[in-house]
Symmetry: C2
Subunit: 339 residues, 2 copies
């Protein structure tokens, strides 16, 4: 910066003022500084300015995994908004419980970011407390954190609606396939399961634990989960999958074993993944990119304007998209006519 100052024939103060766009600089000086900065291809060091301002110009996001469709979409929306706001995006992912513990132990974001976004984590009370005491705004993404800033879709209501829809098609035995709890990605898992249970109760159907199975990424696990459902004495006629990615795996296992979808089993997903349309998968659409955008701008607001309500909520809509993987239950019992 001193070099730029010398070249422009001014002091470092003036360079600093110019480069930050403060108005108290004469046009002439401004011009000379900008030229000098360009010639020396000078950019200000974030580390140095953040040392004095206390702002890092960075937002950190903690996700259970990168590489899942949902997280990818959220990141897309997020980076778009943050770029416009001049903020950098730092990503942390924790794949398993050990890493998770390590993250909360070290909490590297503590002083290295102006805000932290937490994507779909089922946090313990201790972890919540740790984040509350972090000293920077935390935005909970894709999860409803009471009393804290969050951006989410109404998972419970959406899952209830999805289950009702299946019920309306005459299904009485509806399975729920969730992501394995050890994946860490269990927040929406829990809430959606809750909506599913509510809808069952509403329809007077029993909650049967045998109908709730978990799977983790990969064909083998899903085959096992589906297998468990198929060999029940009273197997399901419909499957509600926590995400489209799981639904697609289920679909594949069912088709590979010659089971007609939706003839014998209906499949309902959640997300409206890019591929859902190609596969004609009935699903509950959520605006994933928009979730990222909203989270980004909420974080931006929280950073710039400390007077903002720290418990602000943004709720985004979902909608069920009926497609070809769901159909009427074939073997309706006499009382199913209520649908």
């Amino acid at each position: 910066m001193a070099d730029v100052a010398e070249r422009a024939g001014v002091s470092v103060s003036t360079v600093s003022r110019t480069l930050r766009g403060l108005s108290t600089v004469s046009d002439e000086a401004r011009e000379r500084v900008e030229a000098a900065a360009r010639e020396l291809s000078f950019v200000i060091s974030r580390q140095a300015s953040s040392l004095v301002t206390g702002k890092t110009g960075t937002v950190a996001v903690l996700a259970p995994t990168l590489g899942s469709w949902f997280v990818g979409q959220v990141l897309r929306g997020l980076s778009e908004v943050l770029r416009d706001a001049g903020l950098d995006l730092m990503v942390y992912s924790v794949a398993d419980l050990a890493e998770r513990a390590a993250f909360f132990d070290r909490l590297p974001a503590r002083r290295n970011a102006d805000a932290l976004l937490v994507v779909s984590f089922d946090l313990t009370e201790a972890e919540f407390a740790r984040l509350d005491g972090l000293g920077v705004p935390v935005v909970y993404v894709s999860q409803h954190a009471p009393g804290r800033a969050s951006v989410y879709v109404e998972d419970v209501a959406a899952a209830r609606a999805g289950t009702r829809y299946l019920r309306g098609l005459g299904h009485r035995r509806i399975a729920y396939v969730r992501a394995s709890p050890d994946s860490g990605f269990t927040c929406s898992s829990r809430t959606r399961l809750f909506g599913y249970r509510e809808a069952l109760a509403e329809a007077g159907l029993p909650y049967d634990e045998d109908l709730v199975v978990a799977t983790s990424r990969g064909r083998r696990e899903t085959s096992k989960a589906v297998g468990r459902l198929l060999c029940l004495a009273d197997p399901p006629t419909a499957v509600f999958a926590e995400t489209d990615e799981i639904a697609m795996e289920v679909l594949w296992v069912l088709r590979a074993s010659g089971i007609d979808v939706p003839g014998r089993i209906s499949v309902l997903g959640f997300d409206d993944h890019d591929h859902a349309e190609w596969l004609d998968l009935t699903t509950i659409a959520q605006p994933a990119v928009e979730v990222g955008r909203a989270a980004g701008s909420l974080a931006h607001t929280l950073i710039d304007d400390p007077a903002t309500d720290p418990a602000r909520h943004v709720v985004l809509p979902t909608c069920l998209i009926p497609r070809g993987t769901t159909g009427p239950a074939l073997f309706q019992e006499p009382d199913a006519g209520e649908a």
Copy 2:
């Protein structure tokens, strides 16, 4: 830090030395410092230390888009390695040419990261020059950058092999569907097209520009691209798609219009996307997560050990996985027996 020092009854120097694990601290002092730091939940400010050391502890990655399958997988591998190395991961994405120009103009990574990873960018000479003068190591990921550190698969050879495979099935009219050049994701696009052309030449087949079409994300664009192929006077009997994501869209368009795959048209993809197996898509597999890991550890090496060959290359293997979307060309011409 002064607080910690006071509480532990030592100087800040000793606190600094302790917290960085230097050995020249007595066990007794170390213990007291660690206790004090824990009680005050103190963490070192990266900004401040990087101001002194010149190291930021951060690696930046520039990608054409987040949210594509390939980038997601690379990020997964990357974050895994970087986490172990104690480095943070910062992501920048540029969606269009304007943003791209802005990025290279401002080059925010300049002093804010210890290394920059560039994922699959078809860079201009000017951009290469700009990055060369950046002052931090740059690793080119999923692209071969001559004389510069890069991690990639042999796209040309793989595409050649894939095209040969189709040729071996008797196909003479092989289309190539690429990502739209304006998406920025054009590096592998170009190299794979090159391999395709080589294989055609090798087989004595003409390169027909009508058989090369571009598409961008979304059903509509792909329908148009496939439509252009189908209404050719001499339409293709096989399609080589630049990525599995494109291949899947092509597959979907073909099936939706009642065209038998592989009966009338064979489809070959590239990536071995998670869904490729479910869709029984023949594809050229590349180890995307491994690419990310290799890139991460190369960056790590380059940062820590300046003596490393700055033009180090890591080449990872690909392999063709024959599945159900490719089959023999039906209407073989007399001389097709050579296959």
